[in-house]
């Protein structure tokens, strides 16, 4: 599966995405930890608070669905193809 980075996170990491081997039982949180390893940069604390909830304006989407309305970072990736990670951002 593909983990895509956006906004300031993309600019900081300097890469748009990384590929991971798909494992349906993997949680979204674990997938993001693996993405940290493969980019060599930790960014967890820019997206999630201490309880693993995304900061206001930040979001993680599993095939477009916000994990806030699923099981949060514990959501299983299943057969999803993409995780999109956004640090806090907003506009109008």
């Amino acid at each position: 599966m593909t983990i895509k980075f956006f906004a300031t996170l993309k600019l900081k990491l300097g890469v748009a995405s990384v590929e991971l081997d798909a494992e349906p039982q993997l949680s979204v949180g674990d997938a993001i930890r693996r993405a940290e390893q493969s980019t060599g940069r930790s960014f967890w604390s820019e997206i999630f608070d201490q309880d693993g909830k995304t900061f206001p304006g930040g979001m993680v989407l599993l095939d477009g669905a916000n994990i806030a309305h699923l099981d949060g970072v514990d959501t299983r990736v299943g057969d999803a193809e993409t995780i999109s990670v956004f640090p806090p951002a907003g506009g109008g």
Binding site: A7, T54, F55, M59, A68, G90, G91
Partner: protein
């Protein structure tokens, strides 16, 4: 108490200029800016008049926090009866102009009548004069601004003016200040043009009288720290501007393309806020008066052209909505609209409507008179028809009436993506139920900045709501509409509300005015303003059956992405909204409600 105490009344028909006391006693009920100006408009005009007739009035109004050091304290509103919807029009702008109107000593300018020939108003503190504008009539915004600043003899003078689009009464013409800041929506520029008023030039160095300046400064410091410490206002907006939303909204499956025929756009990565940085086009960010956020983009293109923008809405309206993603074309079209004084959202959505009609055979090739094909993806069409619109040339004369009148004239109003005649912004209602309702019941027609439910529904600010859920949404809409009316009327920028809450605004308003109202009382003022605007619209003949969306959003489900198969569920939410507002089931306002809110 933060008001300068004086309002200018300028009658263009007979050339008289009066200095009147600002009705500050009304500020407890209507705050200032948007609220107070709408109150005066209600008192002074018949809502049924023709918006472009001399009987209409055009009010430039600041709020109590304008020209203070409150974060973003520089904004003003232009309030009038609008030509696009026929209802209340009010449009907010940043930059410095609002603060400088107060520095010159005035809270508001009420413009009446119509000048026999083009004029501009010069407001240099006590010296206020109408001057001949023959030499700037026909000129674009940047040239007009430079010439009038030079003429004023004050390098720091600020100019709010119309471009050719306003002069030609394009129904969605904007009023521009500091060249790049726009009171963009609802066609306020057309009203200014109808009055033969080219510009208002302001200058001065007066301070707003704050009851306890030291206490105010301390209070404001805390609010600025909150804004700086917030992820959205402290990092996201300064770094990437509102254009950070391109990918967010696309990935969430509500980024309209090809006149809302699709809910996603595949080329988004090429024109996104990130791309603007990566391609090296973004040179720096900048901000309006006293703004700690600084969301404005200063861009230089490979062709050497420089300017401000694009922000999220414009980038979308001049790109994905029309089926292309060339950032050079998008930025150039943005610069062109700023120069001509055109609202970018209505201009883009009107061209998108024409493209769908052309592709479906409603517009014949001969009508284009050798102009570029009006086809999605044709980048040449954009600047060509923008220019034609502004000068009302060729088919541009019809496009200048906005998409609803345009499509209706061909017998196919269903291709116009509008509510109450104003074009829909860049969030597809099928992907976001609350925001869709916000468009449908908006007092200025389709509108994203009068109740920005994208905050909770997509961005999770202040908390995350499911965009497809409908339970409880109408209560959120009610609160957002009321709070936004307070923020707009106070003289601050709506973007502060990503970090600040209702108590923060109440604190600053109380400290600036000395009123000592509770947060609930300020929010009630917001509710009063909302009802007053609605009441104006009802009196103007905008019946509640106009509280709806184009039928596309009910009949054509989203074809892909996370909202695949979804339509908008307005019929399930509208009765609840009326009920929460305390209105009759038919959407009219009972006299008892107006009375309870103290609206005479």
């Amino acid at each position: 108490m933060a008001f300068m105490g004086t309002t200018l009344r300028v009658n263009l028909t007979d050339g008289t200029i009066k200095k009147e006391s600002t009705p500050v006693d009304l500020a407890k009920k209507y705050v200032g800016g948007r609220g107070l100006a709408t109150r005066l408009l209600m008192n002074e005009i018949d809502p049924g008049i023709d918006a472009l007739s001399p009987n209409n009035k055009l009010i430039f109004a600041t709020g109590p926090l304008t020209n203070t050091n409150a974060p973003t304290g520089g904004r003003y509103m232009v309030v009038t009866k609008g030509p696009l919807t026929g209802g209340v029009a009010s449009s907010n702008s940043g930059g410095d102009w609002g603060a400088y109107l107060k520095k010159a000593g005035y809270d508001m300018v009420i413009v009446e009548g119509k000048a026999a020939k083009p004029v501009y108003l010069s407001v240099m503190e006590d010296e206020v004069e109408l001057k001949d504008a023959a030499h700037v009539w026909g000129k674009r915004v940047p040239e007009t601004t430079d010439m009038l600043i030079a003429e004023s003899g004050q390098k720091k003078a600020k100019v709010s003016c119309i471009g050719p689009a306003g002069e030609n009464m394009v129904l969605f013409a904007s009023i521009m200040n500091e060249k790049h800041r726009a009171a963009g929506r609802t066609g306020v520029g057309a009203v200014m043009g109808s009055k033969n008023l080219k510009a208002i030039v302001v200058h001065g160095d007066k301070k707003s009288p704050i009851p306890d300046p030291d206490a105010f400064r301390d209070l404001v410091k805390g609010k600025i720290a909150t804004i700086r410490g917030n992820g959205i206002t402290g990092e996201g907006l300064p770094k990437l501007g509102t254009k950070v939303l391109d990918n967010i909204i696309n990935e969430n499956g509500l980024y309209p393309s090809r006149n809302f025929q699709d809910v996603m756009y595949d080329g988004t990565a090429h024109m996104s806020g990130e791309a603007l940085v990566e391609k090296g086009y973004l040179k720096r960010n900048s901000g309006c008066y006293m703004c700690p956020i600084a969301c404005a983009r200063n861009v230089e293109l490979p062709n050497g052209r420089k300017g401000e923008g694009p922000e999220y809405e414009t980038g979308w309206a001049f790109g994905p909505l029309l089926g292309f993603h060339d950032l050079n074309v998008i930025c150039d079209a943005n610069f062109l609209c700023n120069d001509l004084g055109l609202d970018t959202i209505s201009a883009g959505v009107t061209i998108a409507c024409a493209m769908e009609m052309y592709e479906k055979g409603y517009i014949k090739k001969e009508e284009l008179a050798n102009g570029p094909e009006l086809s999605f993806g044709n980048t040449e069409a954009l600047p060509y028809y923008l220019y034609q619109m502004a000068y009302r040339e060729g088919i541009g004369d019809k496009l200048a009436e906005g998409s609803l009148r345009f499509a209706t004239s061909y017998g196919c109003p269903e291709f116009s993506m509008t509510c109450k005649g104003q074009e829909i912004p860049a969030y597809d209602p099928r992907g976001v139920q609350g925001m869709g309702m916000s468009y449908a019941v908006g007092n200025r027609g389709a509108d994203h900045v009068r109740s920005y439910l994208i905050g909770p529904e997509i961005l999770g600010s202040p908390e995350k709501l499911d965009p497809q859920a409908i339970d409880g949404k109408m209560q959120w809409l009610f609160i957002f509409q009321n709070l936004t009316a307070v923020i707009d009327s106070s003289g601050l920028c709506l973007f502060t509300s990503f970090a600040l809450n209702a108590d923060d605004y109440a604190d600053m308003l109380n400290a600036a005015t000395g009123f000592n109202l509770s947060t609930e009382q300020w929010l009630e003022a917001g509710e009063r303003i909302w009802n007053m605007e609605r009441n104006f619209n009802l009196s103007a003949g905008i019946t509640p059956d106009k509280d709806t969306l184009p039928k596309r959003f009910f009949e054509e489900p989203a074809q892909r992405g996370p909202n695949k198969g979804k339509v908008h569920r307005l019929p399930e939410m509208l009765p609840e909204y009326y009920q929460i507002r305390g209105w009759n089931a038919d959407g009219t306002i009972p006299a008892s409600k107006l009375e309870a809110l103290g609206i005479e």
